[in-house]
């Protein structure tokens, strides 16, 4: 090989290396292009934001524990987390940490390992409970001989959220009938609260009272839709949404979720925390059905998921948002079965005004539940807009949803039956979960004195 050839090869290698470096560098900083760096398929929970490497990773590709907590700490606290980090940082648990370091989320929830990833993004072998609870049979004779993988898969325990599964709760609600005497969900009260907070605002606006710039032309249909909304009744006029005092823009053609958050802060934050809004939360383009990993209808594949995707702009019909908005897009068995279920007919009756308010069951009744809050001696109700908040493990729904209408025993059994969930609860649970029975039995044998006193 001549010297000239060798020099040319060196130059070619250097140029190639430099070119590749520039390409990869630009790719890493250009949003979606960062996919070339992914070490493996990202889990269902995080794939939407997988190109934002720095959100979860340190510059040296470590995982930031605080990144997990930034998105999940509030829900863990609300769930009264049964295994919080603080329980494991006591030095007396050094041996437990050596077996299973529960101080770090990634011990159980590793990313980019699809072959190891099970539901809820769990990557630990299914016997992880045995690391600390192998001798549970000593305390609970009912648990002697139970298979090691059944702690979290038999409808009995969750690692984090056991608010509807702890023993005393089971005992307290054991005798509830399958269907409550007066099954009703809490009624939304945002309008009432808004009225109390803005007593000076002119209300019940009409089309003639709209305050959009006079030089613009408006679709009469849109104006009519607005005039028929809770917005118009509450005195929310065009410029309240279509102008931005922060930036000085006198007219914003397409207000974003940030504008909605001006009045609906809690709802917007919840929306950004779930699969519908998590891309927006990371300043990526909105989620579309085409990006989903669960079945969606192909004709709406590219519809962008913003607030107005469900709450169509100007009409803001919450009844539409609670059913039709979901069914227009989702195409899984559970959704398709809804129109054949009793719940659907109940929902239609409520919308038609032939049933009592709060007795209908829409998609939103279970997946965007109405939550009761109490603070400072007052009580209010908000709609949880993070549909993932109570989705998995599904017995998280028991307290926020099921118990409005159903007994605890019925709810546990129903949610533990995948076929029943799939057909949208047409029929009865095929299997009974024994947890309530065991809890009652233990109270009966262990606490005769307390029962006699009652």
């Amino acid at each position: 090989m001549t010297r000239r050839v060798r020099s040319a090869l060196w130059a070619l290698w250097l140029a190639g290396t430099a070119g590749l470096t520039v390409y990869l560098g630009l790719t890493m900083t250009k949003g979606e292009g960062a996919q070339v760096f992914l070490p493996g398929t990202t889990s269902h929970g995080h794939y939407q934001i997988e190109t934002k490497c720095h959100v979860c990773h340190t510059p040296m590709l470590g995982v930031k524990q605080e990144a997990c907590l930034k998105c999940h700490a509030a829900e863990l606290e609300a769930a009264n987390d049964a295994h919080p980090t603080k329980k494991f940082t006591d030095p007396r648990n050094a041996d437990r940490i050596a077996a299973l370091d529960a101080r770090l989320c990634v011990t159980c929830h590793r990313e980019h390992v699809p072959d190891l990833t099970r539901p809820i993004g769990v990557t630990m072998p299914v016997d992880y409970c045995f690391s600390c609870h192998a001798n549970i049979g000593d305390e609970r004779p009912s648990h002697v001989g139970l298979a090691f993988q059944t702690c979290g898969t038999a409808g009995c325990h969750n690692f984090h959220d056991n608010r509807a599964l702890y023993e005393d709760f089971l005992v307290q609600h054991a005798a509830e009938p399958d269907l409550a005497e007066s099954p009703v969900t809490p009624l939304r009260d945002f309008a009432r609260r808004d009225l109390q907070e803005h007593l000076d605002r002119q209300r019940h606006l009409t089309v003639a009272a709209h305050n959009g710039p006079r030089h613009r032309r408006y679709d009469p249909q849109l104006l009519a839709e607005w005039a028929d909304t809770a917005h118009a009744r509450a005195g929310i006029n065009c410029l309240d949404c279509h102008s931005d005092t922060a930036t000085g823009q006198t007219w914003v053609e397409h207000p974003t979720h940030a504008m909605c958050a001006t009045c609906h802060r809690v709802e917007t934050d919840d929306f950004l925390g779930g699969h519908h809004g998590m891309r927006l939360a990371q300043e990526l383009s909105p989620m579309t059905p085409a990006q989903a990993r669960i079945p969606m209808k192909p004709d709406v594949a590219h519809r962008q998921l913003t607030c107005t995707a469900c709450h169509s702009a100007h009409a803001f019909d919450t009844r539409n948002a609670a059913v039709e908005a979901c069914m227009t897009i989702h195409d899984d068995a559970h959704t398709r079965a809804y129109v054949h279920a009793l719940q659907y007919r109940q929902g239609q009756q409520e919308v038609a005004g032939t049933a009592t308010a709060g007795t209908g069951v829409s998609c939103a009744t279970c997946h965007l539940p109405r939550e009761v809050h109490r603070k400072g001696g007052t009580q209010w109700i908000s709609v949880q807009h993070n549909q993932n908040d109570n989705l998995r493990p599904n017995d998280k729904m028991i307290r926020s949803v099921c118990r409005h209408c159903h007994g605890l025993r019925f709810s546990i059994d129903a949610l533990a039956d995948p076929a029943l969930v799939g057909n949208n609860f047409r029929g009865q649970a095929s299997h009974h979960i024994a947890s309530i029975d065991w809890a009652l039995q233990r109270v009966k044998t262990e606490q005769p004195k307390a029962r006699e006193e009652k």
Binding site: K87, T89, D90, P91, D95, I97, Y166, F169, E446, Q447
Partner: protein, 195 residues
């Protein structure tokens, strides 16, 4: 220089002497300025014990037994009740642990209602047994947990109000049902990492 080896030897000896002197000064200063682990643990326990007794007597016992205006419950959020004294203690201990300020503490027992609070380490077992047998004395020792050596102090935790014994003697998970007022029911364990 005619005798560089002598000069070099003097420099080395001087350096060693200064190092020894400085090291000695540093250790001396450290010992003089530092607080012995036992004194530190005793001081921390005084605060923890006082808060615990005040909450048990003046809040829980007064409101649940004397005045009967509210219940105390293990599920205090669901039951809209007062947290139990042991829970109050644990919540504070966990908050301190999260701050990582150089010590931890916990409430353990040879007869725990919550089995997570039974003695785990050999020193815990020894210490809890000692304070149960010697209610007026504390127990001190050192133990290695993980890769760290801890100074561990165990203090007797006594039944200071009727609420303590009423709850523990009647709980379905209690392994002992004959506690009386003044009995040692467990121990406060304080750990300070020393090496």
């Amino acid at each position: 220089m005619k005798a560089p080896w002598l000069y070099i030897s003097l420099r080395i000896c001087g350096a060693i002497a200064c190092s020894i002197l400085l090291l000695g000064c540093k250790q001396g200063a450290s010992e003089a300025a530092g607080i012995p682990p036992q004194k530190m643990a005793d001081a921390l326990h005084a605060v923890v014990e006082a808060d615990r007794i005040v909450y048990t007597r003046n809040v829980v016992n007064r409101l649940t037994i004397d005045e009967k205006v509210i219940k105390a419950s293990e599920h205090w959020q669901d039951d809209q009740a007062l947290p139990l004294p042991a829970q109050m203690f644990r919540m504070g201990a966990e908050m301190v642990t999260e701050k990582n300020v150089g010590f931890t503490y916990s409430l353990l027992s040879l007869w725990p209602v919550n089995k997570q609070n039974k003695a785990k380490t050999k020193l815990e077992q020894e210490g809890l047994k000692f304070v149960a047998d010697h209610p007026e004395k504390n127990f001190y020792g050192e133990e290695k947990l993980g890769n760290t050596m801890y100074y561990t102090a165990v203090y007797p935790d006594k039944a200071v109000a009727p609420a303590c014994i009423e709850c523990h003697n009647n709980h379905k998970d209690t392994p002992r049902k004959d506690f009386k007022l003044g009995d040692v029911m467990g121990g406060v364990v304080i750990r300070i990492p020393v090496r």
